[in-house]
């Protein structure tokens, strides 16, 4: 289980994440939602250890992650929000490098990389430079890099970004399958429909603060709202979206 206790992050004294506590359990897909700038990616980066926390603790399998950071990183798979890669490498070279850095056995990793490249329909372009890859192809490379070492904790920050319909459908099933096999999956996305379909529970963040942490079913019944979209709008959207859309069109026609 992944557990955050009173985690905060401040930039120049301003809280990007403020006293957030929640847990993500093995066998479940936990949705992590919030509007732009609510602190989702900052939280993800704190969980990966990419940025330091200002306050609070993060536990994995009951132990603080900093107790044995190397062992923790061995069990972590992370897909970041932006597909930043070393673009002078080919897809195959990049994945081989990640496998080498993770100290995976050469033959096993080569087989896994080859197999996953085929399954993700990247095998034909594996020797092409990543600089020529589309956003969707880069996203697939990130997914393979995050999964090839069979991690226990999987952090997915906007994993559907740039993927085509077929790949998105595969990824949906893949996330559910991984959770069903006992992985801890923390999944951040703006696609509420997808979140509603694959997540067992959701954590909603607004202005860096936790505003909801429960199963989707319970939130529906508690708030007496039919969909996650309605729940999210009520909790985290401040604008009147209909009026705003009308005003934009009015401005275009003015």
């Amino acid at each position: 289980m992944l557990e955050l206790r009173s985690v905060s992050k401040r930039f120049s004294g301003i809280a990007a994440v403020d006293d957030v506590s929640f847990s993500a359990r093995a066998g479940e897909v936990t949705g992590y939602l919030g509007p732009n700038g609510s602190g989702k990616s900052t939280t993800m980066k704190m969980i990966t250890g990419l940025i330091e926390r200002s306050e609070g603790h993060i536990f994995f399998q009951g132990k603080p992650i900093e107790d044995d950071l190397i062992a923790y990183k061995r069990r972590l798979g992370y897909v970041p929000e932006e597909p930043y890669l070393y673009t002078h490498l080919s897809g195959a070279e990049y994945l081989t490098m990640v496998a080498q850095l993770r100290d995976l056995p050469a033959r096993q990793s080569a087989e896994r990389i080859d197999g996953m490249l085929r399954l993700f329909s990247l095998h034909g372009d594996r020797h092409a430079s990543i600089s020529g890859y589309s956003k969707g192809m880069r996203q697939k490379v990130l997914l393979i890099a995050a999964l090839m070492h069979n991690p226990q904790l999987i952090l997915l920050d906007e994993p559907f970004s740039g993927l085509d319909v077929a790949s998105s459908l595969v990824l949906r099933r893949l996330i559910q399958e991984l959770a069903a096999r006992g992985k801890v999956v923390l999944f951040s996305s703006h696609e509420l429909d997808t979140v509603e379909r694959i997540c067992s529970r959701v954590v909603i963040l607004h202005h860096g603060k936790l505003v909801a942490d429960d199963s989707i079913e319970r939130l529906r019944s508690l708030m007496e709202l039919p969909t996650l979209e309605k729940i999210f709008s009520q909790l985290a959207v401040e604008q009147d979206t209909d009026r705003m859309a009308r005003e934009i069109v009015d401005l275009i026609y003015a």
Partner: protein
Amino acid sequence: MHDLIQRLVARLPLDFRVLYGQFLLRVIDLEALSIQADVPGFLGQFAGVLIMLSLVHSVVTYVGYVYITEAHERMAFLLHIQHYLIATTMLVVGLATVISWDATFPDRRDVMVLSSLPIAPRTILLAKMAASIGVLGLAVFTLNVASGLMLPLILGAQPGPVLGQFQSIPAWWFALIAASAFLYGSVLTVQGFTALLLPRRIFLRLSAFLQLAAFGVFLGVYFVQPSLTTPAALAAPGNQWILASSPSYWFWAMFNQMNGTLPAQLFWVAHRAWIWLGLAVSGAVLSMMLCYLRTMKKTVEEPDLVPGAGSFSWVPRVGNSLQNAVAQFSIRSLTRCRQHRVAYAFYLAFVFALAFSLLRTETAATAPIPLSLVLLAPTFLMMLFAVMGLRNVFSLPISLTANWVLRTTQVRPPEKYVAATRATLLLFAVAPAWLLSAALSLRFRPVIQVAGHLVVLALVGCILAEVCLIGFYKVPFTCSFLPGRANVQLTFWGSVMVMFTVFIPCMQFEQSALHEANKFGFLVCILVGCALALFAYNDHRGKSAVIHFEEIPDEVITTLKLNA
């Protein structure tokens, strides 16, 4: 004057002026220069350095001319200075051409943006050429701003009427401009015909290596070619091949021909300058015109995804998986990223210049050469430039935003990363420099002493690699020296100067040690001790080090605090 220029500029077509302004800022190859290049700032600094050089040249030449009283010494000095200034101008133009590589060709962005606008391809070509010529012209002018006005009077000084003294000024400037045009035209001709003859994908790959080769050739020729400073040396049959093959001597002859100071038996050298100037300029114009007609279409048709070289991209394996990862990442970064390639080519040019000079000594010798400083000095320097140069290039990051992957996959202790960087330095700097030295030592005798020197050289290479690792707790190509934190060039040249002062007595000691077994044993023991001590130090420090990965700073939420 300013108004006149403004009026003249205003008469140019608007689309040309707009494109010229855009292309001028893009002449400098941003990738070759730095990650976040400030082009106007760079041009200003570039011009400032060249003006300073010009002033230094002027002062040195004037002082030398005044203080040398012997006629034949003065003649030798003048010949040397004339050729030196022309060769230096050609070197600077060559380096500027390397930095502005590909700037005259339409890239994919130009084609995609401009082909939908009502702009003729010739306007794009002219604007690009004007921008490139503008930068090269700036280089030539600033490098000769002082020397080009003052020195022709000294260089072309002859008895005769006062007005006759001034004919050397236009002759001098014409020769400089002709030499620059020849070099620029030659590069464009090679690039243009390569682009025409090869498929675009192959051309783009080859172009990167041509850039590197041009860089090495310009620096290598400049440092290797001998200076013929006396009329006797110029007339010597053994030196005629130098005059026939060295463009800087052609344009030196051109200047003297126009100045009326060229001996009749060297007119053929000046003729070469005229012929090759004509060929280079006409070749450039022809190839560029054909290129713009043909390659713009090719550029549009170029597929987004270009197949790679496949499993052919073999890289040697060095040790454990981390060492492999770091070594392969380093060599791929070095060979595939233009900025890194050009930066390392700068150091390799010194290595190859030394290698060529050694090779020339060997080919000139008719019998085996006795071991001396002739072999010891260049091989030590080659090792120094190869190792220190690679360490220097390690500090140019590839992509700071992509460093997150190295951090999230850091599952091994820091000393393993230090070991991986050591393996990379040994594999890609020490080993090639040692092998090159070994190959160049084949004609030296006695063999036992040559073998002894190669042992010493290998140990020196290991020591240099360990010196480079002190405090380097980073993965190569992931961190930069940020302004204000360190001056990498200053550090490099400072280290080279320190090494020079250490090397000279060491080489003298080695030379004597190679003749005495006891002394040689002592030397090897000292070097092995140094290498082991440095290895232990780096390994020990590495265990408690934190591997540093530089990234784009976290976004910081800021407020104007208007309510405060």
